[in-house]
Structure formats: structure tokens, C-alpha cells
């Protein structure tokens, strides 16, 4: 039984097919890595799943519910969390307030929401920064903020868009450890990554996209040897 089923999903913007006939499943508790060159349609796929963009064709089934044309806040209530590639912290609120806004999704009074937010901020190792405004945090810290905020809504499925992108090298191991810590806590994860080493390390399955289409889906080892993937993505890495 999969937690998320994507069936023949498609979306065009003008004449461009951002996503075309994409299908895949995620099993509970696993990490799905999503790879593909820039413009392959990875973020569009997340937009379709989370309800920011309406699909032209296909279906998204989450935990037994058809969420294809649902509003983002409803989808969030059902248990999908998300972080953004282009970070979206609430800049003029403190880290604690940012995470509290997430925890209000499940907690109804201020004190409970606050306690839970503090617990999660501790989980992502930012406790000493809790009273800092989000705009004062570094990029790596803001990535942790987004993870904490998404975790606070107690998602069953967390979509992470390039968590390790745009941060300096020494920050990456900590973020990878955090992803694994989140998996260990029982959250199912789909993560978009450009860093092939990380994706091979953390993923149970990998979905490879190119020009809006699924070109491969399988275990990391199989993906590594898949010719289409090597052509579209890994091949360009080798050349570079």
C-alpha cells in the first residue's frame, strides 16, 4: 500500500509541457529521491502534488484521498508538508514564531504550540537561535527553519526541494544527517536533489525526470546504470 500515488500527471504552461504523463508511487517510511536536469519539471511536480498548480490531466492519491484539485491548506491538513527551493521563511517573524505557525496546524493553544515548536527547533539544532528573526539567519539555518516549520505540521509525507542546494559544503553533512533523522522519526520523504552522492546515499527509490517526463524509476543502483539517466543527467556530470 503506497502513501502517495501519482497517476499520469500532466501540466502544460502555454506550449511547454512541464510535466507529461508522470506516474510513480511512494511507500510509507521510505525516501524517494527525485533527480533531473534544470527545467526537468521537478518543482512543478511538487507544485502539482501540493495544490499550488492545478493538474491538466492525471490524479494524485494521498493516503486514500484524491487530492488532485484540492486547496494547498486542505492538502497540508491531510498531512503533506513541503519546503521550497527558493526559501520562503516569514522574514519578519522570529524562528520560534515561524515554527509555531506550523505547529498551530495540530495544536490549538499557544502554550502547546510553543512547546512543540521548541522541541522541533531543538530537533533541527537551532535552539539558541529561537528568538532571532528569520531574516537574520544564514541560508543553511533558514533551510533548517523550513524543515522545522514543515515538521511542526506533523506531515506523513514531506516534500523537500533542494535542501542541500545553495549552502556551503561544510553545512551539507549536517543537513543529510537531519534528513536521515527525520526518516528515522517515521516521516515519508520525497526529496529533489542535484547532488548525486547525497541522492544515492539517502534514497530508497529514485525518480528521474527529463523534459517533463519520467525517464526512469527504481533502486539507486539501477538508476546509476540506466542509459537514459546517464544521457540526460549523469552523463553531463561526467563530461563536466
Amino acid at each position: 500500500m503506497s502513501i502517495l500515488s501519482v497517476e499520469n500527471l500532466g501540466k502544460s504552461f502555454g506550449g511547454i509541457r512541464a510535466n507529461h504523463d508522470i506516474s510513480f508511487d511512494i511507500s510509507p517510511g521510505e525516501i524517494l529521491g527525485i533527480i533531473g536536469p534544470n527545467g526537468a519539471g521537478k518543482s512543478t511536480l511538487f507544485d502539482l502534488i501540493t495544490g499550488y498548480t492545478r493538474a491538466d490531466t492525471g490524479k494524485v492519491i494521498f493516503d486514500g484521498n484524491d487530492i488532485t484539485r484540492m486547496r494547498p491548506d486542505r492538502i497540508s491538513n491531510l498531512g503533506i508538508g513541503r519546503t521550497f527551493q527558493k526559501l520562503k521563511p516569514f522574514a519578519d517573524l522570529t524562528l520560534l514564531e515561524n515554527v509555531m505557525i506550523g505547529s498551530f496546524a495540530r495544536e490549538n493553544n499557544i502554550k502547546d504550540a510553543r512547546d512543540k515548536a521548541l522541541e522541533i527547533i531543538d530537533f533541527v539544532d537551532l535552539i539558541e537561535k529561537r528568538h532571532h528573526f528569520a531574516r537574520e539567519l544564514s541560508t543553511g539555518q533558514r533551510k533548517r527553519l523550513e524543515l522545522a516549520r514543515a515538521m511542526a505540521t506533523e506531515p506523513k509525507l514531506l516534500l523537500m526541494d533542494e535542501v542541500t542546494g545553495g549552502v556551503d559544503q561544510k553545512t551539507i553533512p549536517g543537513l543529510v544527517a537531519l534528513i536521515q533523522k527525520m526518516k528515522a522519526s517515521g516521516v515519508t520523504i520525497a526529496t529533489i536533489e542535484h547532488n548525486i552522492n547525497i541522492i544515492m546515499e539517502v534514497s530508497d527509490h529514485i525518480l528521474a525526470l527529463d523534459q517533463g517526463q519520467r525517464i526512469a524509476f527504481g533502486r539507486p543502483r539501477d538508476i546509476q546504470n540506466n542509459e537514459k539517466v546517464i544521457d540526460a543527467y549523469l552523463g553531463t556530470v561526467d563530461v563536466a
Binding site: 491548506d73 503533506i80 520562503k88 519578519d92 517573524l93 498551530f104 496546524a105 499557544i110
Partner: protein, 288 residues
């Protein structure tokens, strides 16, 4: 010029400034939340004054006692404005949004003239009348009460926005609507609440002003213009900015009138607007 006269001008300026501040706070809240300027803000103020007036004229309720009703009526008016007009233009071009709320202002004013005629009205023998004298400074009782109520409303608004779940959700929606939605916050509901609170603020100010101001269909125009100046000076989207800006405007208006020439009172206020736009376009506390 004696000390008493200057003290008098400062006290009057403070009292009107608090009213300007609260009207501006409603405008700023709505703008900060959804980037839509309510050009019908003055007309909403006029409606709230008429609401308070009719509650007195028809039901014999003094404006002081009808304040909760006026606030609720205006909050309802705000929610309806969102539901029947604003939600359709959220993603529209800015010019369309301007035309929509500007059109609403013309519609409301014309409707008011049609229903209630352009006559000037006032509340006879309100509960609060006359003035008190402290150290040769005269303080109008209704004005004093109005400024206290406005200050209290301001404090409550601030606590609501910064200390409650709904308040934080409003701020989240204002700062990043998409990020707020994926945390389970329905933006349309937040927008409706924002309109309700924004016009609720106007309800407080209008209800209090009914005590000592003439009530007529064009009464909101100047107040709305002052509110725009206050929002620009305080910084778009900043509620605390509105408080400071409203008080500054009140003081400039009364002191300028006293020290230079009262017939140019409006000029001083709008000069502030020009100075802000030229030298500090983000305002005193603005984010933009």
C-alpha cells in the same frame, strides 16, 4: 505666544492623531495582507458614522453604547466586501484592483446620498458633551474619550496580531501566502478576517467621531487622505508605524495651524507625504 496655547495645540493634535492612526491601521492591515489598497476606506468610515447615527436616531442608543454594534456591523461589512468583491480581483492587475475599490467608494457614496440625502446631521445631546479644563488647557470630553478608545483599540489590535494564533496566521499570510498555505492556513479565510478587522478599526473610529463630528456623505474623504499619508509615513504594512504616523500627522496639523496659518492645515500634512515619498519611501517602519 503663550505656553497654554501651544499645550492646547499639542493636546488637540494628539487626540485627533490617535483617530487618524486607527483609521490608517485598518488601511495598512488590509494592504499588508493582500497588497490591495482600499480606496473606499473613507466611505467605510462614513458608513460607520451613519451606522452609529442611525442607531442613535432610530433606537435611541448613544454612540458610546452602540460602539460594539458599530464595530460588529463594520466587521461584517468588511467580510462581505471581501466575499463579494475583493476575492474576485486578488490575482487581477493592479489597475483593476484600484478601479474596483475606487469604484466601490463611488458606489457607496452615491448610494448613501440616494438613501440619506447629502444633508449634514449630528447627534443631539450625546452622553459625552462639553469640555474639561486642566491647567488652562481645554479638553473636549467626547474627543478625549474617543482618543482613549482608539488607543485601547490599538493596543488590542497589536496584541491580537502579535500574540494570538489567528494574528500570527495573519502575519504569516501577509509575509508569504504560499508558505502559509502549505502550513494549513487558508488564505481566503485570512483575507476575510483581515477585511473584518480592518473595517472594525474604522468602526471604532467612526462610532466615536459621531459624538462630535457632523455626519454627511462626504465626511470620509479627508480622513481617508490623511490615512494614506499615515500609512506612507508609517511604512506600508506596519501597524505600529501607523500609530506614530497618525500622532505625527495630528501634531503637524494642529501645531502647523497654530504656528503658521490654520488655512493651510492640509498643506502641512500633504507636505509630509511628499517628503516621505522623496526621502524615505519605505516609511518609518516599512518593509518595502
Amino acid at each position: 505666544m503663550s505656553f497654554e496655547i501651544i499645550a492646547q495645540a499639542i493636546v488637540s493634535g494628539l487626540m485627533t492623531g490617535l483617530i487618524y492612526a486607527l483609521i490608517a491601521a485598518g488601511l495598512s492591515l488590509i494592504f499588508g495582507l493582500m497588497n490591495i489598497v482600499n480606496f473606499a476606506h473613507g466611505e467605510h468610515l462614513m458608513v460607520s458614522m451613519f451606522a452609529s447615527f442611525w442607531l442613535w436616531a432610530l433606537l435611541g442608543l448613544d454612540p458610546v453604547f452602540s460602539i460594539p454594534i458599530t464595530i460588529l456591523l463594520m466587521a461584517l461589512c468588511g467580510v462581505l466586501t471581501h466575499y463579494f468583491l475583493i476575492r474576485f480581483i486578488l490575482k487581477a492587475k493592479m489597475l483593476i484592483q484600484i478601479c474596483a475599490t475606487f469604484g466601490l467608494s463611488i458606489f457607496i457614496r452615491a448610494l448613501a446620498q440616494f438613501l440619506w440625502t447629502p444633508d449634514f446631521r449630528n447627534v443631539d445631546q450625546p452622553l459625552l458633551e462639553g469640555r474639561i479644563e486642566i491647567a488652562n488647557v481645554f479638553i473636549g470630553q467626547p474627543q478625549f474619550f474617543a482618543s482613549l478608545v482608539c488607543l485601547a483599540a490599538f493596543v488590542m489590535l497589536y496584541l491580537f496580531v502579535t500574540r494570538t494564533e489567528t494574528g500570527l496566521a495573519l502575519q504569516a499570510t501577509a509575509q508569504d501566502r504560499e508558505a502559509a498555505e502549505i502550513l494549513g492556513i487558508p488564505s481566503n479565510k485570512m483575507f476575510a478576517i483581515g477585511w473584518g478587522i480592518g473595517l472594525g478599526c474604522v468602526g471604532v473610529a467612526g462610532g466615536m467621531m459621531t459624538n462630535y463630528f457632523f455626519i454627511f456623505t462626504d465626511v470620509g474623504v479627508n480622513f481617508a487622505l490623511f490615512a494614506f499619508v499615515a500609512v506612507a509615513l508609517g511604512g506600508f504594512g506596519s501597524i505600529i508605524g501607523c500609530l506614530y504616523a497618525g500622532i505625527i500627522i495630528g501634531l503637524v496639523e494642529s501645531l502647523g495651524g497654530l504656528l503658521i496659518d490654520p488655512s493651510f492645515k492640509l498643506l502641512y500634512v500633504f507636505a509630509i507625504y511628499l517628503l516621505v515619498v522623496i526621502y524615505k519611501p519605505q516609511g518609518l517602519f516599512g518593509r518595502y
